[in-house]
Structures are given as structure tokens and as C-alpha cells.
Point group: C2
Chain length 205, copies 2
């Protein structure tokens, strides 16, 4: 954003510590709900010390969001137009689900931001994200036109993968309250596989 490359080892370490603490606190409380005191306590630093490494609360938040958005969309970018369609789409869903399992706080940070109207990233959604989705929807459309997968709305298909996978991170509390098992992810993997296979595999005629 505004910060050039950090120099000393201490800077690198402390910026990392602060971002980790910020992720913890922002993802659990949203931007407005989080406080610098909470983040400072979580990071084991004093409040003025936070503001020595980041110019403001908002700077910590946007640094997190910026880093997040890239890695978050990588699985979608990785979808290979020359690969086997069903394998590619199922693989995408599984990679996205793995992100929810391994980085639930990142998922909740993003969910909080969108839920509250995406004040910081709305423009990026309309440009970068829209361009990526339009592009990948075209890949899906080509597969459908070639009869390799059944016809359906490609954009809603992408939405459904986002929704179903992120749900297991964002609504974690609800899922664990309802489910008997400890770990919902094996069941989720299996269900998603079955769901998208049913939807996409061309029927014998």
C-alpha cells in the first residue's frame, strides 16, 4: 500500500506478528468491532508500537485483505482449460474446501468484509474479480458447448462452489453445534464430490 520493503529483521518479524494478531482479531470481530488494544495484546506489543509499524488500524486491515485476496483466488486461476473438465472443477472445489479447513480465519475476515458492504474492496471486486470470473465462466461455457459437461449457468456454478466451501469456515460454529462428528470436512469433501458429479456428468442418452 504505502509501505516500501521493510528493512531490518525486527521489522520483518514484528510486521508479521502484528498481521497475525490482526487476522485473529479482525476475523473474529470485523473491522469496526476490533480494537487496537486487542490486537496489541494478541501481538504482545504495546499500542504505540503497533502504530510504529503500521500508520493506522485501517492500514493493518487493508494489508491483510490485500494479501488475502491473491491467495484466495489462486485456485480459480489454476483451473486448466486444457485439463479434464470434471477433474478440474472437482479439484477446484476440493482446493477451495481445503482453504476453508486450513485458513478459516482468512475466510471469516473476507466474509466480514463482504457482509458489511465491502467498503475496502468493492472496487477490486468490480474490476479484478469480475474479469477473472468472466474469464473462467467462458472456459466452463466452452466445456459445455463441447458436450464435456452438462449445460448450466457457469457463473452461478462458480458462486455455488464459493458458497458451499466457505460455509464450512464461516459458519463453523453452527456446523459444529449441529453435527455429531468433530470434523465436518471428510463428509463435506464426499458430499461436494457427489453433488458436482451429479450435476456435471453428461447423461447417457
Amino acid at each position: 500500500m504505502d509501505d516500501a520493503a521493510p528493512k531490518t529483521r525486527i521489522q520483518i518479524r514484528n510486521r508479521k506478528v502484528i498481521l497475525t494478531a490482526g487476522l485473529e482479531v479482525f476475523s473474529a470481530n470485523g473491522f469496526r468491532g476490533a480494537t487496537l488494544d486487542q490486537i496489541a495484546r494478541e501481538a504482545g506489543l504495546s499500542k504505540p508500537n503497533l502504530l510504529y509499524y503500521f500508520p493506522s488500524k485501517e492500514a493493518i486491515y487493508t494489508a491483510l485483505l490485500d494479501a488475502l485476496l491473491d491467495t484466495w483466488l489462486d485456485p480459480l486461476r489454476a483451473l486448466d482449460p486444457t485439463g479434464d473438465p470434471i477433474t478440474e472443477i472437482l479439484g477446484y472445489a476440493q482446493r477451495k474446501l481445503a482453504l476453508s479447513r486450513d485458513f478459516p480465519r482468512e475466510s471469516r475476515l473476507f466474509a466480514n468484509e463482504i457482509l458489511q458492504g465491502a467498503p475496502m474492496v468493492r472496487d477490486l471486486l468490480k474490476t479484478d474479480l469480475k474479469a477473472l470470473v468472466d474469464n473462467r465462466a467462458e472456459v466452463l461455457q466452452n466445456w459445455m458447448d463441447a458436450g464435456l459437461i452438462r449445460r448450466t449457468d457457469p457463473v452461478h456454478l462458480i458462486f455455488s462452489i464459493w458458497s458451499l466451501t466457505q460455509h464450512y469456515a464461516d459458519f463453523d460454529v453452527q456446523i459444529r453445534a449441529v453435527l455429531d462428528e468433530e470434523d465436518p470436512f471428510p463428509g463435506a469433501e464426499c458430499f461436494l464430490d457427489q453433488l458436482y458429479r451429479s450435476l456435471l456428468e453428461p447423461r447417457a442418452r
Copy 2:
């Protein structure tokens, strides 16, 4: 909660006005992010006047959540064990989607609460919600055992309907940023129908 039946017309009207304003503000900012001043402004009342009708900020919030939870789960309760399975499940998904279309703020209020760890409703989830889901999962399981729909995990099936339908309310900003059309709901209806038909309709053998 603590309040008995309101008496005068003014009380009925103002409690309603406050709850409407509270819904607007809480759903857009979460509990911690919302302020009484915002709610008072939205309601057209003074801040001390809010606290004449509700004992605290939290009381407004929990009153909203309590009212919400009931209506939110009605479509699931309405699932008829004696009806046609596919019609019932598709109907449930469509009714839930209609809730997202017609009451997006309620959906976002709930999403905020869950996302932030469900501090106010966690116990209800573990008792009431779990009981309801267990019960409806049994209905689904019976349909599967009878061969009326294909076998799949009934609880993950319910999760998927929640996830896919609420997504259109909770991630509204993202969807509108990506989608070309104004109104995502006709496309969503169609997609969900196709998705669950593919998953559930028994295959010819």
C-alpha cells in the same frame, strides 16, 4: 426476554420502529460495530428514548435474534414427510431462497452473529437447532432408504441448502459486482432446481 406485553399504542409503534432501525444497523455493522446513536438516528428517536423502550443495546439485538430464529427455520419445519420428496426438497430450497431475496437484512444479521462465534445464540443452536436438524435428517434418510431419492449425507444436504440460499443475501455485494444482470435471483432459482434435481432424482437402471 424480560419485557412483558407492551401496553399503549405508542409503545407498540416505537418498539417496532426501534427494532426496524436496529435490524438495519446491526445487520450492516454487526453487534460491536453498531452504535445506539446510529440506531436512534435511523429510528428518528433520541438515544435516551431508545433506552426507555429497551433496557440496553444488547436487549435490542437479542430481541431481533429471537424473533428471527423462529421465522428463519419455519421453511425447514414445513418440510412434509408425507409429501413427494423431490417436490418437498426443491420447495424448501426455493422458500429459503425467497427469504434471502425478501429479507436480506435478517440473513445478514444472522450471518454476522454466527461469523463472530454466535455469542448470543450458541446454546440455542446446540439444543433447538440440532434437534430440528436431526429430526429432518431422519425424514430425508427415510426417503433415501425407500429409494425415492438418491443416497447422500442428509445433514450436509441441509447445510448445502442453507449455504447456497443465504449466500445470495450475505454476499450480495460480491454477487452484484460480478454479475451483469441486476437481479441474481431468477438465475439462482433455476440453478438450484437443476442442481438438486441432478443430485436427488434416482437414476434409471
